[in-house]
Symmetry: D2
Subunit: 343 residues, 4 copies
């Protein structure tokens, strides 16, 4: 299958190129990247010597599947012609994530691309919406933080053990902010620094709310604070939830029920693993894995759930390919079945 990548020169785009180059069912037919159009991939990215694909201004009509790594708004604009032609797409940007057009307007300060398309788009958190993904041609790839937060919180909430009242304290590597230059990714400013940001509300919050509402049937109450930590890749989401009133008193029994709920939810999942010990971002580096660990705080009677993933893989390009695999009816692990790089 001939695939195209929009904006290959961003981190999500170039990670798509790396991963798709080893996917047995696809050929990278074309890649775009405005600022570098006219060069080929190895001319811009030394790690891709040998992947001699020219960077162009736009994709040809002949592509049979499109991934977009463009920023929001630009992403939908570039995808619309393909959507209209019936080409299946995965959008790594936010343009098709929020089902409520007003929410989109509120958080992104622009008009939603074409509201009529929203009912046909699926929020592609693969493990949770696998069937809808399989039947859709427009998949909105989740944000990196929501992927970590939702995979951590959903089993607790959907099992009824915890309330949909979550504090998500997330720690992220710097690549999540993209390849554009800002003071917040200047090495000397980032190194030896922990930087909590978007204290007034981060754009990934409404996604978390939307998907947790879908699971719980109620409007959730969510505090989400991201922190930049000095590393390139990785997110650790530490989630804190109150137990439901119906949850048993005994903390040992509670831990058993919680662990069962997580094991049940992720049983057989190739990419989500419930770990017996605290998850480490390092144990996901370069892979499509998400590690999840629920733990009862018996003293304070609170549920804590920790999740770890690589923001550029399960948090972006890897999950996008996982979604493509599901959309195409291929084994879900195709092209993604490798272990993290450690140490």
């Amino acid at each position: 299958m001939k695939v195209g990548i929009l904006n290959v020169t961003g981190y999500a785009g170039i990670e798509l190129a790396r991963l798709l180059s080893r996917h047995p069912n696809v050929e990278i037919a074309a890649v775009t990247g405005r600022s570098e159009a006219g060069k080929d991939l190895p001319g811009v990215f030394q790690h891709l010597i040998g992947l001699d694909i020219p960077i162009t201004e736009s994709l040809p009509d002949s592509v049979e599947f499109v991934f977009s790594g463009l920023p929001h708004k630009a992403s939908a604009e570039a995808l619309l012609p393909f959507i209209d032609s019936g080409v299946p797409v995965v959008d790594i940007a936010a343009d098709f994530r929020l089902r409520d057009a007003d929410e989109f307007r509120r958080w992104y300060n622009v008009e939603p691309p074409r509201p009529g398309l929203l009912p046909g788009a699926v929020y592609g958190l693969t493990e949770i919406r696998r069937r809808e993904v399989a039947n859709s041609k427009i998949v909105a790839n989740p944000g990196c933080y929501p992927t970590a937060a939702l995979l951590a919180a959903i089993p607790a909430v959907s099992s009824g053990l915890a309330e949909p009242d979550v504090i998500v304290d997330a720690k992220s590597g710097i690549s999540g902010g993209g390849r554009s230059l800002t003071l917040t990714n200047h090495y000397s400013e980032v190194n030896e620094n922990v930087n909590p940001y978007s204290l007034g509300g981060h754009r990934h919050l409404p996604e978390i709310e939307q998907e947790l509402a879908a699971v719980s049937g109620a409007k959730p109450r969510i505090t989400f604070i991201p922190h930049l930590v000095p590393m390139t890749r990785g997110i650790l989401a530490s989630c804190y939830l109150p137990f439901a009133d119906s949850a048993p008193e005994d903390p040992v029994r509670l831990q058993t029920l919680v662990t069962e709920a997580y094991n049940d939810c992720y049983h057989g999942e190739p990419f989500v693993k419930v770990t017996p010990t605290a998850p480490l971002t390092k144990a996901t580096y370069g892979s499509n894995r998400c590690l999840v660990h629920p733990k009862v705080d018996a003293r304070a009677r609170r549920l804590m759930v920790f999740s770890a993933l690589d923001n550029l893989v399960k948090g972006a390009s890897g999950q996008a390919i996982q979604n493509m695999n599901v959309m195409m009816g291929w084994p879900e692990t195709t092209g993604l079945d490798f272990f993290p790089v450690y140490p």
Copy 2:
């Protein structure tokens, strides 16, 4: 004044040496360090070329003030002779921090050093217990995490605006774990990693409980989870608290009250600064500062407080010197009045 440092070869001890070497009122009379006894400081620490002090097995009786950077238990044992002689001491270890001997036994699995001394010891969170510190000869220097957590939470709780119900999600550099070798400070294991640890309860938790109880008059409910992040120095504590029922509804009014409470509490403090924006650990590097920033989450109606400090300075050796200054009746900033190193 002739001061002695016990265990100068640990990170707290060697930071004491750096800071005290520029303190105008003291002379570093002697330093101990079992494994390196017989060498002098520059023979072990290249950064101290010029501070030609021999490392010995024990301190002479002539020292007039003692700092201990030993591990718990060993610390009290080494300090007791000096305490018995009336020499004022600051213990950076935990031996005199907990007023309840049972709590100490529970968390440290050893007998408290000499319970009869506990009533005379002061928990040296200087800004909160300045008067008691001034009148004591045994100051228990707070742990690094409790310093960050308590300076963040106390104004909210003591003002009655928030309940003594706190989630402390702390991110720490690696030096907090000391200079001894473990896999959790092996560079290749730590780098590109966020590592949540002590999920079952960290030894710094009872200190936070004890001091928050003292402020609130009630038993607090505390979840405290530390995370290692790949940097050498710095702690960022992100604290989440529910508002008291009596707190006003309107979030703008709430933010005003909260900010006032923090400004009132830390008005005139030389080392604790309430910041108008999110605090950065980098903005405290090498200094005795603690930056605190309270922020109302209006959507979820929760109080968030972020605090940043250097775990080896305000979180250990700097605060120890601050306490010495108070104990001796010297200006509190003596020897500590310099800015952080940035970038």
Copy 3:
């Protein structure tokens, strides 16, 4: 083919497990690791959840190929039974690298394992000794530094353009020193530090001398200084050589000849790439690539060659698998044909 890995719990061993788990022609039949024997791989290495292989004390006789990631001496001792049984082996340690038993004694302070085996062993710098590797059952995998230094220096020397008189200034990530705990891999000591070491002579020096002598036909003169830099993976070797008297005066002509020599030497090589710009260690991360860039310093009339590789892949486990592929007559890139992880 059933392969065994000796000392899977070191960094070379665990990297072998990661890479071999995706090699289509082999099955990891058994892995050893003294300190962790009795556990399985995911019980020690969270990144390998799903690779459920027990860690044992020793390998069964049924293995058909053995890799050793043991330290020198222990490595040969563990390999000898397999060698005697005719099982092909790749030794990542130094035991079969030096052809001169006296040199081995001098640098390693132990007796060479069994000198009679040395003539049958091959120094497995694959690109240079491909034919001998194909015909040997004992391949001594080169050290990480010699791989970088030799791939950089050999074309210049073998072409006669430069003298076998090389200064190798190498910068390495910390993982090259292994997983054992030392102050030189303690995060707080390593971070924000450049540490030149082994100034009196590093054990990798005699390998570089031996192989450069083989190419040049003369005893080379080599200064080799490794430096630790704060990163996990990667070596950059900066090599400085005088031109031969016969080399042309004109620097432009000289650059042309040099570039041609490198292109000729590595033409068609799947893993060694001559780059048009300075090579970056980051562009090799997690891959079996070595990037080489020769550059004439016209002002000082000197040849500079820069090479970059991942010390755990091309510098250890990847090259070991490359050697296995050659020994078994398989396509050399089998199981190694993927791009580096970037950023």
Copy 4:
């Protein structure tokens, strides 16, 4: 004395502010910073809370001493009015470093600011030109790399033990490139990377040549290659030189002579220390120190000299203050007499 800082918002400028704030003889009277004019220092730099100095467009005439942290050309332009008024200045930029106007043109592609001033300007490598600095009102502060390279190489060359033929392989932290945004200081590009750059010739090369020529009386032959390594502060310069023909054969004797030459050269220097072991950049962090270690490579008969410093202190702002102290006749260590921050 009232001092002014031009371009306080660059890293050299802001480091001047940190250091001068604790200098007993000066008052920071004014600071400029075009992009942030109108704010005060704490409004831009959180670490300077408490140093409430407004950032302005230009300095008032009343300043009695001026430091410039501006880029070249802009620096001279801003300094000329003060120079013309007889105000002493230290220029951290390159505008007054090269005595040969043609060299300046060649390397910087602009006209030298006012060639007539060059004879009165001094290259302020304080230890080497202390007397001239004391008698000058225009001091050109050396570049960070040249400071490290020259302090390493000069004793060897001036003693006649080595030829003025030096390979300088330098490794630098990222802050040396300044606070402006480029891909080469984007965290995700820099982390886990060693990046050799300016292979065709770095602008700091002519300074090294000029000053080594002054010492040796001959035109030196210099290869200088800088490498970016993933850390914020620090330079390690590894220098390789051939011995002079007159140097003794015996390597032990040679080492003795070399060590003596270095000890003689830097005897009594407060900031340059000859170390008995390899110098570490970490042992200079935040201080004005330069550590130097000469070592004979007996096998290859070459002199190796390693020097370490903090590029923002001894490599920039600290040395600028050291020069001011000398210019003003104050003790040279005034305001600079503190130890490095470790770890």
